[in-house]
């Protein structure tokens, strides 16, 4: 892999890329952010999701409590924020050369014929995650509505909440959600969230995504703060547990956990998944920035806002409240168990729990919708710039594709097997692969010296030099290690599952078909770009093959 980091890069260097102020590429549909704060809120909204409020506290409670925060913050500083900066830098760089879609941006960063194909995961990941995430989004909307109607005030029996959830998401039987009289309103809620997402995405980057995030993020903060005040002022329960006991369950440090490799792996995994790196979203969002917009400060601000939701709100609300009413057993619940079984039970036992339950699930719905919006934009951008489609055509094509996937998830709802398969192969495994590709593109193809120069344009402060070396050497090695461990731990059972269960096999075939379709589209778009001269003026790859 060519490393151009040591190459000269003076103003007269013939290798220097064309000035970003050149006119937009032919056929480019102009779009862009309205303000600096707007793009920061949009990226933060993309990152903040259910994982901040449900996954992080569970991981901390299971891995040393407060001690978990030590590997967590180290991972944030040496892995999470550096990867964010790399994505922001490459995205703005590609955008300044007239590309907003990942295949175009990757080719701008490394003008080699294979670059555009390496970007396929940056389209597949947001598209496939959207297919099941919109269903989870509808769960949150449904739960918020059920608090308004009072349907979720089911007393203190945990079984009642588990039964309610299973019936609502169709976990007991395939096809029940799409059968008339199936007893769940989920399919209508999914349709509603689908329409809402597409109305917002249809309005464009500034008028749709940015305008919505400017309202939704402050609304999430207000909702979470109200619930936080309620949780911190709860009286002791009949069992004698207090809020301080709940806080202690979450935050009391068990430093012995730091000697276990699993704690470090869990902490870095949480940071990695929480910041939405390797999703193909940041690279697309930052491509709409102007040349002198500050990517270093914007990236750091968006990451720190995500941490605010995760550590300051998620860390103080979820586990302390659940422990107060349900005891230590809550520490072993997974994300969905904690969010949709344990917490509704907590709200039912809490004074004015109906109001606080509504606020909580409405906030989760807002968090989910700001994330799902970000998953649509990368693919819309590709359809528009790859094929010259107008917004109605690109939104219709994307709507059709994503509706097929969401329909698949809704139909094969038994045990949430299709959702789980999509999540494991794309939402967990493939994002590590994409992050690895992006870190190699930044560290070795663009080169850390050029990366430093490009990122410092318009920046108040530069990315620290040690971070550049981390991006070049440590981050790719770490991601290879993370991928290898994940393969070692999970791949065997998962592969066996494919042979044993037709739904899992069908899910894999579905994902593979979408991936093949995207590769075909990238191939056609690449020929179109080559034909109309879109790649002219890009610096030739060191391999000499050009594009």
């Amino acid at each position: 892999m060519p490393d151009k980091s040591d190459a000269p890069y003076g103003p007269t260097d013939p290798a220097r890329p064309a000035p970003p102020s050149e006119p937009p590429r032919k056929g480019r549909i102009p779009d862009g952010w309205g303000s600096r704060l707007g793009v920061i809120l949009a990226v933060a909204g993309s990152a903040v999701g259910l994982g901040n409020f449900l996954r992080f506290p569970g991981q901390a409670a299971q891995n040393g409590g407060g001690a978990f925060l030590i590997p967590y913050f180290i991972s944030l500083l040496v892995l999470g924020i550096p990867l964010c900066w790399a994505e922001w830098t490459m995205g703005r760089y590609g955008g300044s050369r007239g590309f907003n879609s990942a295949p175009g941006v990757f080719t701008a960063v490394w003008p080699h014929w294979i670059s555009k194909y390496l970007a396929m995961p940056a389209l597949l990941i947001p598209l496939v995650i959207y297919m099941y995430y919109v269903v989870i989004e509808a769960w949150c909307l449904g739960y918020a509505w059920s608090y308004l109607t009072g349907d979720l005030m089911l007393g203190s029996d945990p079984e009642a909440y588990s039964a309610y959830f299973d019936q609502f998401v169709g976990a007991r039987q395939d096809g029940v959600l799409l059968t008339p009289g199936g007893g769940s309103s989920l399919v209508w809620l999914v349709a509603l969230t689908f329409v809402l997402n597409f109305i917002l995405i249809y309005r464009g980057v500034a008028k749709g995504i940015e305008s919505f995030c400017k309202v939704a993020i402050p609304a999430m903060v207000v909702c979470a703060l109200i619930v936080l005040v309620r949780v911190l002022t709860l009286p002791p329960t009949e069992s004698g547990r207090t809020v301080l006991d709940g806080l202690g369950f979450m935050w009391n440090p068990n430093f012995e956990a730091l000697s276990k490799p699993g704690t470090w792996l869990a902490a870095s995994g949480q940071v990695f998944f929480s910041l939405s790196v390797g999703f193909g979203v940041i690279i697309n969002y930052s491509s709409y920035l102007k040349r002198r917009d500050d990517v270093v400060l914007s990236g750091l601000t968006a990451s720190s806002m995500n941490e605010f939701f995760e550590v300051c709100l998620g860390g103080l609300i979820t586990i302390p409240a659940a422990f107060l009413f349900l005891g230590a057993a809550v520490g072993d619940q997974g994300t969905f168990g904690l969010g949709f079984n344990a917490l509704p039970n907590v709200f039912a036992q809490m004074p004015a729990g109906r109001l606080f339950g509504f606020l909580w699930f409405f906030m989760l719905f807002l968090a989910a919708i700001t994330s799902s919006l970000s998953m649509l934009q990368p693919v819309i951008a590709f359809f528009e710039e790859g094929f010259g489609l107008k917004r109605p055509a690109s939104a219709s094509l994307l709507g059709l594709l994503s509706a097929l996937g969401s329909g698949f998830v809704l139909w094969f709802s038994q045990g949430m097997l299709a959702l789980d398969t999509f999540d494991f192969w794309v939402g967990t495994t493939l994002i590590v692969v994409l992050a690895l590709i992006q870190s190699v593109l930044y560290g070795w193809c663009l080169g850390i010296r050029r990366g430093a120069e490009i990122s410092s344009e318009g920046a108040r402060f530069a990315i620290p030099t040690p971070v550049q070396y981390l991006l070049k050497y440590f981050v790719p090695l770490y991601l290879i290690g993370l991928f290898a461990i994940s393969v070692y731990k999970d791949l065997g059972p998962r592969l066996l599952q494919i042979g044993d269960n037709p739904v899992v096999l069908g899910s894999i075939l579905f994902i593979s078909t979408v991936a093949a379709f995207l590769l075909l589209l990238i191939h056609v778009a690449g020929r179109r770009w080559s034909g109309d001269g879109s790649f002219d003026g890009l610096e030739q790859g060191e391999s000499g093959e050009g594009i």
Binding site: S35, L247, R291, L297, T301, F308
Partner: protein
Amino acid sequence: MTTGGWIVMTLSIGFVLALVGFCLTLVLKGDPPSRDD
């Protein structure tokens, strides 16, 4: 809640709040994004 718990919680939340405060101050204080290129 042990003393260690209080210390870790205060440091963690303090670090995040300081980071958010630092970043937002710079963002809100900064020039509006250039619209001329």
